[in-house]
Symmetry: D2
Subunit: 355 residues, 4 copies
């Protein structure tokens, strides 16, 4: 894709998601990271400045504290916004809703993350499902990690005419590695108190036609989520048909327990071996040898990297808001290429029966 | 119940299950623990002897080593068998199958545990489902912890005419506390490589009519299993009807997240506070405020204590094999009373809406 | 011991420590539990009432909420205090300091736990070190779990004239099983930010002569603490002399890795097998086959059950404050007998070389 | 450094260490990775081939199986050896000893890892301690991760004339992330059965003058080791003197809890944010604000990344064996530059009091 001018992007909030978004923007040839806003002065921001990131104070008060701690600031949030075509809000849950009026006041399109309610942006985004809807909007919301994976997979089944209804059990990592020294769970399992959990309704904020119910439970690990699905299909289908359906998504990657990838730590090791930053898994990693079709019923499991899966979606959302391209498939291809997203074909030998 | 003579029981294998079975036998007024056979000489056996358990060597070779380690033996396995009316085999998976011919040769009825295949005993046992079938048999197999919970719950739904088909996701504790210093998993999730997992077919070894499919995953904790179910009912039903159905099982106990029992560690703490040995949970602990009915669909979750749930079943199985009573409900009541099994009514205040 | 009248005890705070203290009081033939005060209405208090404990509201406001939740109260904290000879405060850290004036105002001797500062009670207590000092005092403080173990062990070495100085590394369990569904650490290690950690100075609140420095780190498990010590002795000594010194403490119990007790989960399993409530380990469990003497240096490790070790100390503290006996050794013996505390001699065969 | 010809290196064993060594060789401008030998055909080797690594079968039998699995091999181990100037053996513990005669038979210098005994190579290596000794030797052994950190730190104190004797407690990660789906420990602590643990004597294989005793314990995490030290210095010293001493090592990096780096997960996050492959920490990460001097005693703690710390040492060992440079400091500088090893100065603001 050729662009006359790069999309200028600011990132508000430099945490688990924000820092990954910033890094990914740096890999886009049609985008430019103008700067990052935050409120703390700890090592993460010092490293960012050391790495050449332009830093802004997200609030006047915090800016003062950051400068008192000898952090060099380029200005305040308003100045960052003014300097950008699109703002990506990666602040903690609920803060994005408070920031939205600020972005709107300066007339800058903005991307929210899944911690915010659908209503704040008025639109919920998964690139493969509804990229085109977001074009030229004032705002969109990249849905949460769990919801993103649900929409990717169920949309693929729906496109193939196979989806009637889906019932899922979601094992959620209890906390991120970064904050695993506080607030975690130990040697226990903590069910979400309510069934259905919120992810099902959340998926319908992207596609209201999905018949999906989820149950969720926190598990004592930090690597990512694991989803188990029981799907009622519209008809009897073969395993091949199902895999072909999932295969139409460029962000679902196939793995096999038979290749030694029988646990989520192994999948993360594979990502690190691939040289991905932070060992990030952007794809839904779906086990093909575990997947089972039984008449008109389908059972499968996949891994979701909660720190990474929304990163390519956010890049596409930026591009859609900025009108960088009106072709969702083109944006997805471009983002995928920049981040090395794609099928793990190297896992198969030449004559290996697919997949 | 009055018995002319107590049922004399021997336990072969004094591990996680064996020691609990031995303790539970000691609480039955119609049973007598004649002794325990094992193959090791470590602290567990020393403590057993210290606590008055009569110890036998399970093999000639091991017996020699045990005596060399100054453990006092009453004799070999054959002598224990000869001294018993019923033998309970609690040896590791697969060893029970090798022991079965020995028990048969001495014409002693025996109970196997769920690690053995159905065919070894020719009968699979869950007290509430098929106590009467086991009466006067030569052998029966108490099914595994997971399968026991599945049969208890689905049989209750079936009795109420509500069960069409059940699809479950089983989170399995990775190892027992006793052996958590080796062989565990850490900060990962390990799916069973095959879907369906074996528990569904195993449940059908007790009741071939059950339409049940399970998917299973090992999770990094040691406290017990957690099951999530999505059930297609035969018709629309109310939550009250469903709870009434489960309520007919004397070994399903209701808990609520709203009472502070929102995680499996809390349930275990409750068991310890109840003064139960090892903090054992013999019941299926089912969350009533999490349970959800949606038309003809039912969703719920419960906890299974893999070390404890089969203990009352084993006691009933002994009684059935020995013909202690021909009335399954009576045996269950007697076992429950001896072990303190029953509804957790104390969790509710007087006018607390049930349950 | 014969007592004319039982010591009437009230327990304020029915958490991890409070419920254990209440249970232990019930096992003393010279004490009577008059009641328990707390501020919540969850399952733990419901169970207490169900088990016959007389419940009081610790504050007027909380009492109202508890009664609104249908919990039957006998009255408020003042009424419990008035009904008691001694009050044991087991409230969370810092609350005891706020409660102290209330106890003093009613002229009731009280025992604080180790979360409070030494100054609040003006005296810090470990039975083997200074029982006699606490007799007839208005208040004493049972020091924390870690400090209790340090004083027990170092006092034993000091009594034998062997202790010059001790340097310890303390691995602290990150959270209790009861609250492991929140606030834990996962797959990480969290050093105490300051060296020395507070336990060294805290030990000197009991015995100012101890030359002890500690470093501490939170580790991701819930079972208990593990201490490693490097001790400079006053002279070259033999391993036998050291074991003889530790052996003079009736609350240090010897274990061996060679007996299969090579990890703290195994020690906890042993406690559960002993039938102890909650699987509690009241003793310092010290590995004799790991202990090493090298000239005038001594190296050893032991396990501390943070939920249990202070329970016998608290019982002794009650007895000292109430003047139940003026003989510390007699109180210790009586408490030990009531709780089953003692050497694990059953671990050794008859001719097993000690220890 | 200018080299006429690159040092040609082969790596035998492509596991946790082998793959990191291979990657690091690729970053040296005076070395060339000729190929890798292994015995398995799983995804790790497929990825290696995909990434352009030349693969060899380590045994004839395994080579056959690898080719049957459609892995393209360049030949057998002998052919790899013949093609190299230096071989690095990264096979599992004990296999290196069996391979040594093969390397010797072909007259190729080789580097062993710390799992092998000192005697197999006849020399044990830590670059800062004894680089020069290894020049032109037939073999050397890079000592284990724990021992490497001990030698780095104690050698620094010794150089400054401060070291009398050191007593350490080593918390060892229980298993590597890669294999955390098997063989781990859960919710427990597992002390090494023997005191002293082997690391102290192992450090003396590099420097026989070190007076060091270690005690070790396995802890349930996968990120790395944590060492606590209590050092008797030769004299009273200031904290500044101690930090100056440690500061002479280019592979000890200073961190502070006050900067938000108060736990080992935070240190690993910093490494990932630095863009290091696998988030590797090559340095000993030592907390300066935790370090405490008390008269002639010194107390401190540091983190060791067991997967990474030996990688730069191995690079230096290759260079020494091959005579790439006879100047150890120059080799260390070169290796450090290639891997981004160095002080974390960016953590401090301009006028931040050091360190």
């Amino acid at each position: 894709m050729t662009v006359s001018r790069k999309i200028r992007v600011g990132v508000n909030g430099y945490g688990v998601i924000g820092k990954r978004v910033a890094l990914a923007i740096g890999r886009q040839n049609d985008m430019e990271l103008r700067g990052v806003a935050d409120i703390t002065a700890d090592w993460r921001l010092r490293l960012a400045v050391h790495q050449g990131v332009r830093l802004y104070g997200a609030t006047t008060e915090d800016a003062r504290a950051m400068e008192a701690a000898n952090l060099k600031l380029e200005g305040g949030l308003d100045e960052l916004i003014a300097d950008c075509d699109v703002v990506v809000d990666c602040t903690p849950k609920g803060v994005g809703a408070r920031n939205a009026p600020t972005y709107r006041a300066q007339n800058r399109p903005f991307v929210l993350q899944g911690g915010e309610a659908h209503a704040v942006a008025g639109h919920s985004f998964v690139a493969e499902a509804n990229y085109v809807e977001a074009i030229d909007r004032a705002a969109t919301r990249v849905v949460s990690c769990n919801t993103t994976s649900i929409v990717r997979t169920l949309t693929a089944l729906k496109r193939a005419g196979l989806l009637r209804r889906a019932r899922g059990t979601l094992l959620r990592r209890a906390t991120d590695p970064w904050e695993s020294d506080r607030g975690g769970i130990m040697n226990t399992l903590v069910p979400e108190p309510a069934i259905p959990s919120h992810q099902g309704p959340d998926a319908r904020s992207v596609d209201p036609d999905l018949d999906v119910v989820t149950m969720a439970v926190k598990v004592p690990e930090t690597l990512g989520h694991l989803h188990y699905w029981s799907v009622q299909m519209t008809r009897d289908a073969s395993k091949e048909e199902v895999l072909e359906a999932f295969g139409t998504s460029p962000r679902i990657a196939y793995i096999r327990t038979a290749d030694g990838l029988g646990a989520i730590n192994a999948v993360k090791e594979l990502m690190a071996d691939l040289g991905r930053p932070h060992g990030d898994l952007y794809e839904v990693a779906l086990w093909t040898d575990m997947l089972r079709v039984q008449g008109d019923e389908l059972f499968y499991a996949y891994m979701v990297d909660n720190q990474a899966i929304v990163i390519p979606e956010t890049i596409d959302a930026i591009r859609a808001l900025a009108g960088g391209t009106r072709d969702g498939a083109a944006s997805i291809l471009q983002t995928n290429a920049s981040l090395g997203i794609g099928p793990f074909d190297f896992l198969r030998a030449g004559d290996d029966p697919a997949p």
